[in-house]
């Protein structure tokens, strides 16, 4: 086993990773910015190094600074968590060059899946259904022809985007050129590249994803599936495991598809293959080559600690089972986010009921820095079936007390109480459409 793992992240996910390390008697190293000097994850670590100022670009994205902390602390592995440098192929390569084990797939697989257009091409080459659309387009005439063939509405997506970022919707042919111009400007400033591609908008689609892990020999095991359809502006807010919406036959199809995508590519570590499910078909959306925010629901239903499993596999201390873990009951996760960050986001009250899983990087009295993502806490419940899980989540949300900041807690309560959510009648666009029409979530 590793002696010391450096966690190149902050907040709840840093705490989450350190917890698994502690259970394996692995020492932990935190790296932090000046804005996080009093944070829970810094106190939780055996050692902590300040690597830069509040601005993420100079701290959590400061590759040299983080590597220097690893060198100084004699860490032997780096866990990147999610976000920040988790899908940075250069950083993965730098870690290897410094003799550190990168707890994730190889750099070339990170690059391949990070380039969303290349990933689409790769999936198609393996015989997997992709959302109807194009590969990277450069020629304006070809773009227009392709757009007319796809039909409207369609999406312009940035190759370097992903995770709901770098997407523009075009509703009519008249808007195509103006939207293309804006999309290219946006992608060039956000991702330093202007490569874009087009995709059809799938109607009434569900977001279904598959959690996988690969051992050191690149053998893949499916750990379970999740339904992450509940999104606001393409950001997930409620996740469920398993996806109760799909049949056993469809689940088998999903597993076969994931193996067709990843068998023989030497994938190591955790990953998630995302699909849109529309008209009884799965379409490859993208793959995230890292631990995901919502991994906890899969852990709850399978009883696994997937970070621990990842550490054991990466250090060759454990062998991957050949059997897909059994899934017990239904787990639901709600993400409670800060909705209107100010300069002072002090959590005067921050308390949660017993008997639920609470993943957070904050505690009562903490001031939430406004430099980073808005996630305050993830709460997870587990019921015998979906309806029981919904009821348990309603009870949990009613007993959460957060004061001092504005959050989406009330919105979550309304969604959980609605009949359409309980019945499971929703698609990826449902929440946005309800917000647009100023409809409440209830009813």
């Amino acid at each position: 086993m590793f002696k010391k793992v450096l966690v190149a992240n902050r907040g709840e996910i840093a705490c989450r990773i350190m917890k698994s390390c502690q259970q394996l008697n692995v020492r932990t190293v935190a790296v932090y910015s000046t804005a996080d000097k009093d944070a829970k994850f810094v106190k939780m670590a055996d050692e902590a190094y300040c690597v830069g100022p509040a601005k993420a670009q100079e701290s959590y994205l400061n590759r040299e600074g983080i590597l220097m902390a690893a060198v100084i602390s004699h860490a032997d592995a780096v866990h990147p968590g999610y976000g920040f440098l988790a899908e940075d192929a250069l950083f993965a390569r730098m870690c290897s060059q410094c003799g550190l084990t990168w707890l994730g797939p190889q750099a070339d697989l990170i690059s391949l899946m990070g380039d969303k257009a290349a990933a689409r091409k790769f999936a198609a080459s393996r015989g997997i259904a992709i959302i109807p659309g194009t590969f990277v387009l450069n020629d304006p005439d070809a773009t227009e022809r392709a757009a007319l063939k796809i039909g409207f509405p369609l999406l312009i997506k940035a190759s370097q985007g992903g995770g709901g970022k770098g997407i523009r919707i075009v509703t009519s042919p008249d808007d195509l050129n103006s939207q293309l111009k804006i999309a290219k400007q946006e992608t060039s400033s956000a991702f330093g590249s202007t490569s874009i591609y087009l995709e059809r908008v799938l109607k009434h689609a569900r977001h279904i994803e598959v959690q996988i892990i690969g051992d050191q020999n690149g053998r893949i095991l499916v750990l379970g599936d999740r339904d992450c359809t509940m999104q606001v502006r393409r950001q997930k807010i409620i996740e469920e495991s398993p996806a109760t919406f799909i049949t056993d036959a469809q689940r088998r199809e999903l597993i076969v598809t994931v193996h067709r995508l990843l068998d023989g590519v030497n994938y190591q570590g955790l990953g998630t293959v995302e699909f849109l499910f529309s008209d009884d078909r799965f379409y490859f959306l993208e793959m995230n080559t890292r631990l995901q925010v919502e991994h906890g629901v899969t852990e709850t239903t399978t009883g696994l600690d997937i970070v621990m499993l990842q550490l054991q596999l990466a250090s060759n201390e454990s062998r991957l089972s050949r059997q897909i873990p059994s899934c017990d009951g239904v787990a639901i996760e709600c993400r409670i986010n800060l909705t209107a960050p100010t300069n002072n986001n002090q959590l005067s009250t921050f308390s949660f009921p017993e008997g639920i899983r609470v993943d957070t990087g904050y505690q009562s009295g903490d001031n939430v820095p406004s430099y980073y993502d808005a996630l305050l806490v993830k709460v997870i419940v587990n019921g015998k079936n979906r309806l029981e899980a919904v009821t348990l989540m309603q009870k949990a949300l009613a007993n959460i007390k957060i004061d001092g900041v504005s959050t989406n807690l009330h919105d979550l309560q309304k969604i959980l109480a609605s009949s359409w959510y309980k019945k499971g009648v929703f698609a990826v666009e449902t929440l946005d459409m309800r917000l647009e029409k100023h409809e409440s979530f209830t009813g």
Partner: protein, 128 residues
């Protein structure tokens, strides 16, 4: 150019990220200097007239061949030592002239971002 126009230009400029700017509009020339606030932690001016020089990065501190000692007088911009980060050596300069009051780091020691390394009694400030 009238004072109103001038004020507007200066107001617009303050929103931009610059340390030094020179503008020439017709016959009017404006030169503006601003304290570099992009790295606010490298130098802390204390109320008692001392300056704390903090580490601009995480790394290993290397003292000079002739290490800076307590009591040394240093000129503005003088090299106090080097911070090594990923095999790159970065000079640590003093932001102002003065007298070294404390040396808070040792040769070969690992230092974090923002860690206080030297305390200097500013030359100018003492005269005032």
């Amino acid at each position: 150019m009238n004072s109103q126009q001038l004020e507007k230009i200066i107001n617009d400029l303050t929103k931009m990220d610059f340390v030094h700017a020179r503008l020439k509009i017709d016959d009017t020339e404006i030169e503006l200097d601003r304290k570099d606030i992009s790295m606010p932690f490298h130098r802390n001016d204390e109320a008692d007239g001392t300056i704390t020089v903090n580490s601009p990065m995480i790394g290993i501190f290397h003292a000079n061949e002739q290490p800076v000692k307590i009591g040394d007088n240093v000129k503005a911009g003088a090299v106090l030592g080097q911070i090594e980060s990923m095999k790159l050596f970065n000079e640590l300069n003093t932001p102002d002239e003065g007298n070294v009051l404390s040396v808070l780091c040792q040769d070969g020691e690992a230092v974090e971002y923002d860690q206080p390394l030297f305390i200097i009694r500013g030359g100018h400030k003492q005269d005032v």
